[in-house]
Amino acid sequence: MDLEELEKQVTYLEDINEIENLQKMYGYYFDNAMFQEVIDLFSENTESVEITDHGVFRGKGAVVRMYGGMVGMKRPGWMFFEVMQSQGVIHISTDGRTATGRWYTPSFECRPFGGTKKQTWQFGVYDNEYIKENGRWYFKKLHWNLTYWTSFERGFLKVPRLSDTPFPHADAPATAYHPYPSGYRVPYPFKHPVTGE
């Protein structure tokens, strides 16, 4: 192997590491309601953000619209979202400029429901895209698919989702909202590592 090939391989490993960190940092900012920091992780050329059934938000302007309302908003301590960014599988395009990532997210939550507080379990799958610009990785597309959103007490078998939460200011309705027990499988961005299919 010559130096140039080796350099390419090293860059590839660095890219994977940087993308994994980007995704985990998104989680660490999200859990402390640091939404300006979250917005700054998105490329100016962002395609879209889609979270559960909130709908599709297109472009960087829409990213600001999606998260921006929450910037600086005081959230009571009991209202929380611990989203554990787990099991990332990252694939980088051959030209090294874009990437895909699939992740699992078990999470603990507590939110208001009418006048009461409700503790919930949530689980979902990310199917995200990333872009490298000026030597740094950014989010290009974020899509979080809800598997279940259930009350702590009752569980996903009895209550797969607590309510619908479409956002009125979305650009388009949700593209793939099929919670448990639909059997829906979020399409894999990657090919089978052995068969290549």
């Binding site: 130096l3 660095e14 940087e18 989680g27 009991w78 929380f80 787990s86 740094r136 702590f152």
Partner: protein
């Protein structure tokens, strides 16, 4: 890029990988009460401290032996606790930053725990969450812990959850060198564990 620069970059990737494994191995030893093995994951000369939940701060390698070996392992006694007692600590979301000279590192992690412990005469099953902000050192080509700080977000009964009972009870250890430095569980946990890393885009 010349071969020397490239070697440095490869070294960094290897270091990150090794530190991630160190942290996960800590978890796999912890799960099975392998306290002697855990003590050996800490630097002999440069260990700063260990702080777990509200147990208090234990300084230096001496303090590390005191908490893991003298207290958790009962000084090497055969394990007295029943097999249903369980501590599964899932080490999730490591973000590792290695110093430019490649000898020190910091890591943030979060953890999800499934535990079963006795409370008085009763076995209780519980859910826990917490954050690590840890430090590591490279000595003789190997990565070791110098500082471990696990901040507990909640420790709640399986049946009641974090909203109803964020903390099942206080567990300060009498042998600690200092009281806990930052123990504020849900719902007072917000911004309680400062980030060691800078924002990857804005640098702030």
């Amino acid at each position: 890029m010349n071969i020397e620069e490239l070697e440095k970059q490869v070294q960094l990737q290897e270091d990150i990988q090794e530190i991630e494994h160190l942290q996960r191995i800590y978890g796999y030893y912890f799960d099975n009460n392998m306290w002697g093995e855990i003590v050996d994951l800490f630097s002999e000369e440069h260990s700063e401290s260990v702080e777990i939940a509200d147990h208090g701060v234990f300084y230096g390698k001496k303090g590390i032996r005191r908490i893991y070996w003298d207290m958790f392992a009962g000084g090497g006694q055969p394990r007295q606790s029943p097999p249903w007692m369980q501590f599964v600590v899932m080490q999730i979301g490591g973000v590792i930053d290695v110093s430019p000279d490649g000898t020190r590192a910091e890591g943030r992690w979060q953890t999800w725990l499934c535990e079963a412990k006795p409370y008085g005469a009763f076995p209780r099953q519980e859910w826990l969450h917490g954050y690590y902000e840890n430090r590591y050192i490279k000595e003789n080509g190997k990565w070791l812990f110098t500082k471990l700080h696990w901040n507990n977000t909640f420790c709640s009964p399986f049946e009641d959850g974090w909203l109803n009972l964020p903390l099942m009870g206080w567990m300060p250890l009498p042998d600690a060198d200092d009281p806990p430095s930052a123990f504020h569980t849900y719902p007072d946990h917000v911004h309680n564990v400062p980030y060691h890393f800078r924002h990857p885009i804005t640098g702030e």
